[in-house]
Amino acid sequence: MRGWKLLQWAAAFIAVTVLLVWALQGMHIFTKQYRKVVHREGDPVFGTVRERVEWQPDFRLGLDIAGPVALVAGAAAVLGWWRARRMLARRMSHNHG
């Protein structure tokens, strides 16, 4: 029973953490790997503002990863809870019997 209890809490912790990270990182549908950075500077030749754009690595968890992970972890938590409850009920009925 202890094993199932452990699975229940560990899986619930993973599901909640993953969803929390996803929410805090902007609730993107797809996982972002890069961030657009725009450098603006005056251009003395053309008399305009020159923009230079680059993509820098920046991981943002998306629902494409967070969703399945949370779903599997959630299902494992429910399974752990159900099995632990069943074992407890069996043990109690055994003790009463």
């Binding site: 972002k32 790997q33 890069y34 251009d43 003395p44 030749v45 008399g47 020159r50 754009v53």
Partner: protein
């Protein structure tokens, strides 16, 4: 009656015959070749939809155009953007963008603008060695296998060669900036069912900056 007829023909044809000259001491046509040493050639695009807004860039840009300083309206050339160079910050979305459902990069590896003429040329600024003009670039826009006539507003800055410009590239330097909108439906881009209009905008806003160096042209 004859005189009235001649006058009418002149009035109607006057705008067609109008030639705008670049107010700089230049003789002969110039070929402007896009060059990243002059400035970053870049197209930025923005998609706004109710469920998602995203930005992207494309920097695989090449092309050239011929500019006649005595007749700016006759400017012509071609600019190509490699679909493979389009990035949105999400690798998976970039793959979708290039897939057959969207831009189909394998069949149509380039987005092109075939510039045929400039219209409504207006010199807006002139200083020593530098001229800024606004115009409407008329040409064929080729995207996803569909060719469509488009009129794009542009701002062109022409700078005569100097000690300062030579630090970037030899020759006169040119910058062209444009902002316009592309309707995905016009170019037969349908995407996955239900995505356009919800997660991808029906129209994409494009902001383009092109930089090049000009040399005396051998082409007419």
């Amino acid at each position: 009656m004859f005189i009235v007829g001649v006058m009418l023909v002149l009035i109607v044809s006057a705008p067609l015959l109008a030639q705008t000259a670049l107010p700089l001491p230049l003789k002969g046509a110039r070929t402007v070749v896009l060059n990243n040493a002059v400035g970053q050639n870049l197209c930025q695009f923005i998609s706004s939809a109710p469920l998602e807004e995203f930005e992207g860039t494309a920097d695989g840009i090449e092309g050239s155009f011929v500019l006649d300083p005595q007749n700016l309206e006759a400017t012509h050339g071609r600019i190509r953007v490699a679909v493979a160079s389009m990035r949105t910050g999400i690798v998976r979305r970039d793959e979708h963008l290039r897939s057959p459902e969207w831009l189909d990069a394998e069949r149509y590896p380039h987005i092109e603008f075939d510039l045929q003429e400039l219209r409504q040329v207006r010199i807006t600024e002139r200083s020593a060695g530098r001229v800024v003009l606004q115009a409407v670039a008329v040409g064929d826009f080729f995207l996803h296998g569909v060719r469509k006539r488009m009129e794009l507003p542009i701002t062109l800055t022409y700078v005569l060669e100097s000690e300062q410009t030579r630090q970037r590239a030899p020759g006169d330097l040119v910058q062209v900036q444009s902002e316009f909108t592309i309707s995905l439906r016009d170019f037969n881009i349908r995407g996955r069912q239900g995505v356009i209009g919800s997660r991808v905008g029906e129209s994409i806003r494009v902001k383009a900056s092109f930089y090049g160096a000009a040399t005396v042209s051998n082409k007419p």
